[in-house]
Symmetry: C2
């Protein structure tokens, strides 16, 4: 039996070496070479070419090489086998770092001081709001959202969360579903999007949602941080809200098209911070290790962990 690596945009040979070192007794094959399709029991994929995983009669499981699995459900010829995603504790920590960094940068107006510095402008501001008077709203209360919420609370922010279905979290104000959205947005000065991309969430950060954010906060207007998925956002609506003044700023790590095309006005908009989809990247060694452990669990007859629910899409 063998492990098939199916990816685009990444260096497959590096991944083959990592997996082969961790699974010395299992042949590791790649899409770009001849291989015995009947021998493939496992697939590790990152954005494989749609259809390339069909015709694997003995496939037992598909592993996403990242936390996202939306690219898998976009393949209508995906074999009907269990799908597991990577749950990397380091990745959760990295995401919290990104969210706390940018919430603090917004709170402390760091971009303003960055603009002042080359002008040799010593203009302090004696009336910065306290973190406790700034309301952060996290959309998505999975592992990533909950840890970010916890760390933002330690830093003093007034944090609430929204999730698709009702969720009770000790010490966190929570809102749920379509019926809870308006109240959630109305108390949000910094909206942090950490949702998975599904048919329900695609394009949900649109003009209507942005218009619902708090206009009575201490930051001069609401901010958006999207460190989830680019498909969640409608970029023309974000630009429209920024230019209309209903949105004060945006920190975007993900985009409708990645890499962000040079013609996108987001690159040079003065109120937008662009990072190259690196809010939370796992070390390749850690990912290969986590998937190898899963394969060893299956080989030992133990159940697969972190299985995705196809009906929810995450």
């Amino acid at each position: 039996m063998s492990l098939l690596l199916a990816m685009t945009g990444w260096h497959v040979e590096d991944w083959r070496q990592r997996f082969q070192a961790l699974l010395p007794d299992m042949p590791v094959v790649t899409l770009g070479e001849p291989f015995d399709r009947r021998a493939v029991h496992y697939v590790a994929s990152w954005k494989h070419p749609p259809g390339s995983l069909s015709g694997l009669p003995n496939l037992a499981a598909i592993f996403s090489l990242g936390a996202g699995v939306d690219f898998l459900f976009a393949d209508d010829r995906l074999p009907e086998v269990p799908i597991a995603r990577v749950v990397d504790p380091d990745l959760t920590t990295r995401m919290s770092e990104y969210v706390v960094l940018h919430c603090l940068s917004i709170l402390r107006q760091q971009r303003r001081y960055d603009r002042q510095q080359p002008l040799k402008n010593w203009d302090d501001d004696r009336h910065q709001p306290a973190a406790r008077s700034v309301r952060v709203g996290i959309m998505g209360l999975g592992e990533l959202g909950l840890e970010a919420a916890e760390k933002l609370k330690v830093m003093g922010f007034d944090v609430a969360g929204w999730s698709r279905s009702a969720k009770s979290v000790a010490g966190l104000a929570t809102f749920a579903g379509a019926e809870g959205m308006a109240a959630f947005l109305a108390r949000t000065d910094i909206l942090v999007a950490l949702l998975p991309l599904t048919e329900e969430t695609r394009g949900m950060i649109d003009a209507e949602l942005l218009a619902g954010l708090a206009q009575d906060g201490r930051l001069g207007g609401p901010f958006l941080i999207n460190a989830g998925r680019g498909g969640l956002q409608v970029e023309t609506d974000i630009l429209g809200a920024l230019d209309a003044g209903t949105l004060e700023g945006a920190v975007l790590d993900v985009f409708e098209t990645e890499p962000l095309p040079a013609e996108s006005p987001l690159w040079t908009h003065p109120a937008v911070t662009v990072t190259p989809h690196n809010a939370a990247m796992s070390e390749p060694e850690a990912v290969a290790g986590l998937i190898s452990e899963q394969i060893k669990r299956l080989e030992a007859g133990e159940p697969l962990r972190h299985v995705v629910d196809p009906s929810r899409g995450y």
Copy 2:
């Protein structure tokens, strides 16, 4: 009896109104007007003109309007009465925000992405170190240093502290005194200075100290964050270490001369972040409230809190 407000650079009338509202039965006078020197029982000062507090025969206490008191000891005609500084919990929170913001910004290379953005450069970096592999060293383990250490630990950093005299803190590696300095610096990738300015600490961030920082860390070289006092640092030595490559970057909120003079090379050095001494500013209302409470305590026969030890200078 009256309260004398003695300050330079601040709007004394705003402060008079704040104090008068809080102490309606006590005359509040200022240096710029005639007043009865025998009636002055209390002084609230921020950088008063040296000598201006002599000849106050009934003075009972001097309050610094900030956390720093070094300007008081620089006045050799200061009356020998108890001096209290402001210990504002909000100020401690603000300082932690600043320290965590800039440690995260260094960890996540935010300045690099800031430079890339106007160039429309989508260059991610798959090998950012984890916070746990980055060693932060905090010089000064008073209220500010201890809270910053605690929050940096929550964010995952590997934190240690140095203080003048030995201090045992649960969960924190501590070093003390001149004999502990070399080992402290040798394990420090990000040095955070939160020391008071005294005769012992003046100019201590010099070429020799900077040369002792870790050169084997994960950040490409060590970083300095000074959010304490400008007098702690020798700016020509910081610039020398940056240009020699022994220091990778510096985040400075305080300077030898403030406002930072336009001719300082720090303003435009590519590896330096300048902020205008606003890492931790109290709300004026909060400061006036804390000092008014102290005056009420004294009037009620209770002991003064947060008294400065003149022999230590803080």
